[in-house]
Amino acid sequence: MKQILHIFAKDARRFWPEILLSLAITVAFVRLYANQWLPLDTSGRSQAGVGMVQSLSQRFAVALVFLVPLSWWLLISRVIHAERLIGTTQFWLTRPYEWKKLLAAKLIFLLAFLYLPIFIAQCLILVAAGFHPFLYLPGLLYNLLLITGYLVLPLVALASVTSNFARMTLTLLGIFLCIACIFAVALFVGSPGASTPNQGHVPLILALCLCLSVIAVQYATRKVWHARLLLFAFPVLFFCIGAVIPDRVSIERAYPQPANGAGAQPQLEYRPDPHILYGAYSLPAGNRMGIAVPIQATGIAEGDLLILDDVRVAIEAPGGFRWDSAWQSLYGNLHLPVDKKVTANFTMPGAVYKKLKNLPLRVHLTFASTQARAVKATTVPFSGREVTGPDFGICSTALLPLGSVAANIEFSCRSALREAPLTHVSVAWSDPHCAQPQPEPWQGVQNIGWRGAIESDPAQFGISPVVVERFSLTNTGGYLQLQRVPSSCPLPAVTFTQYKLVGRTQTGLSINDYHLPAHQ
């Protein structure tokens, strides 16, 4: 222990400027990040100084979210490279250093000057956001574990296989470039992949194991090429395996076919609205066409919800031609409570579209769907001040008039450590006690919004412990038919309905004599 503390003290003495810089950035982050959830200035002063300062400070706070890990990058590089593991001329190689104690000293340094400051910073930000840190202690610790697995340990591993800050930076830039190229190629090639449900803790465990192995191998043996191979070959291998295995495997596993004898399942129907023109649209990537299919679900029990996550399309044309798509993500997912109509979009190659566009087709859509059930509903009066949705977080709200008759309620919601559970937020605008007469037709407009995620861990990866989300609910009715809001009416109530996962399955929809829409 004496040796560990001795090395730690040496590093702390040597790297005080880097420590000070990192602490200063963390303090600035704490100080400015609270501006993220300040209510929007709706008084019209936003063009003036106050609003501009607020906006600038919010932007700077976002920049600090990136500056904090950048300062860690410098700190980790400096402290690991102080006793670098590459080379044959370092003084410490022939001194009575024990690798376990050396590694322990470096970890204590990171605990003292990286983990402790960010933990305190996160607690302070939680307090500033109105959350009691002790209530979120498991989430805070889980967030630190995520930061360890996805940020700190990869940086330590990278520092341990490079000889100095410049080489580490170049390696890191090279890695980012490779990832960017892979994404660019994937985007250009076109076909949207499927969005599979949360993989659980597997990626985190893999990241932790890989980085710890690299660090241990390098500290114990200083066999740099073994460690480098481990660090770079395994992620490439996992990526290749992931690329080779089709989405079908993971989707089929996550969304099993409904079992025989299972209870009544929601049914999907093809319901085009005669007032709407559903057109095919060109996509820039990969010469693909987007097709919108209007659907409606029936058989959904009151309080239940059907979420459509992914879709797979099979099209049969006269003459025996058949086209099958891969699983495609329905971006943003489609939430289908009782009798709700939505439009499911899929893409197909332009050549296939041209071949089939004038033919009567038999189309079968298979949806990867998630069933959820409302578990809790809470209505809170809108007072223009902050409202708290149970398990949803704290929302600052503001009424923003849009001309003379329309209005928005602007929500700036914050939740602790992770996205809120899937919640249906609704606002009922009608007010029977309003003193002024309400013009016909005034049935009251209920505007809704889906927020949050159906499943989530105790915390999501991030430097900030507060997840901020802004959205607005307007009093405009369907298809922008404006409804009046008399200015003297009391403000509406906000209802938060929280949903929980029931299960996942596949739901089919067959359409006979379907014609692909015309190109818009």
Partner: protein, 313 residues
């Protein structure tokens, strides 16, 4: 008595380059062993293998009874290592460096540390990066001698230093000699000759000889044979006669296996008409040059033979 250092068939390759080739070396405890050789002979590589900075490709090395591959941590409390190209914690002052290292060695002798600071006239408050090369080397010596290591390993410690600093360092080493084993590599043959007890000569990764300095000094003689009349270089000379050459009536060579009793007799038998035969002791530098040139001649003639054979084939 266990040797302080021993190697068995030790080899080290870097790709296709053989840096050390089947080295068998023994450094007795208490010796001041000088490993000499030309640039690129493999001296630094051997030292780095001994210090477990490089793993050997084949064979093994034992340092203070420990396999060099397992040399780590506490084992270094008994070893002092100083190298000409060793990186030091340059951002520290000399005093801070000594303070820092002190905590790693339970047997650190503060009295000796103070003595070395005075002896080397070390500026304790100056940062290492602001020291001259000689001062830096003195600081390295002080930090490696203060804990009275059982083995001191020095890689080209005097290279590029002025004579005054060299003398100071050698003096410091000699004072430690009775209680330690010193293993050093150097080009500086004149200095080595003054204090080394053993010497090994390395040529292209191979140890050409390794013995006590006194034995070596007795074994090598510069022989001058004055003949009655000019004659060509006789054939079938013994392998122990290095660098033979004739000029007029004089034949000169280096006898690498001189024996006070048998060598004069052997020469008298081979050159019965010789008017005079003289045997002159040689300096380490002269021995080194003779052995080096001879080894190179043999290597080039071996390559020539190989080339002739290849052409013939």
């Amino acid at each position: 008595m266990n040797p302080a250092i021993s190697t068995q068939s030790l080899s080290k390759r870097f790709g296709r380059t053989v840096a050390v080739d089947g080295l068998n070396l023994t450094v007795p405890e208490g010796a001041i062993y000088a490993l000499v050789g030309a640039n690129g002979a493999g001296k630094t590589t051997i030292i780095k293998v001994l210090m477990n900075i490089f793993p050997p490709t084949a064979g093994r090395a034992d340092v203070l009874g420990i396999n060099s591959r397992k040399l780590a941590g506490k084992a270094f409390t008994r070893i002092g290592y100083v190298s000409e190209n060793q990186e030091m914690p340059d951002w520290m002052t000399v005093g801070a460096m000594l303070d820092y290292f002190r905590a790693f060695y339970p047997q650190w002798d503060r009295t000796l540390e103070q003595q070395l600071i005075r002896q080397f006239d070390l500026p304790l408050k100056r940062k290492l990066k602001h020291l001259s090369r000689g001062m830096k080397m003195k600081a390295a010596f002080a930090s490696s001698l203060s804990y009275r290591p059982a083995l001191i390993v020095l890689d080209e410690p005097f290279s590029g230093l002025d004579p005054l600093v060299r003398d100071e360092l050698i003096e410091g080493l000699i004072e430690r000699a009775p209680e330690t084993t010193i293993f050093l590599s150097s080009h500086d043959l004149a200095e080595i000759e003054t204090f080394s007890s053993h010497v090994g000569y390395l040529e292209r990764g191979r140890l050409l000889f390794s013995e006590e300095m006194s034995v070596l000094a007795n074994r090598f003689r510069e022989v001058t044979v004055t003949l009655e009349s000019p004659s060509p270089l006789p054939g079938n000379l013994p392998d122990s006669w290095l660098q033979p050459q004739t000029a007029d009536c004089v034949l000169r060579f280096v006898h690498s296996d001189f024996n006070e009793e048998s060598s004069p007799r052997e020469l008298a038998e081979r050159f019965p008409s010789a008017r005079d035969v003289s045997f002159d002791p040689m300096s380490l530098r002269a021995i080194f040059l003779a052995v080096a040139k001879s080894a190179r001649d043999r290597a080039s003639s071996g390559q020539d033979h190989a080339a002739i054979k290849e052409n013939a084939a």
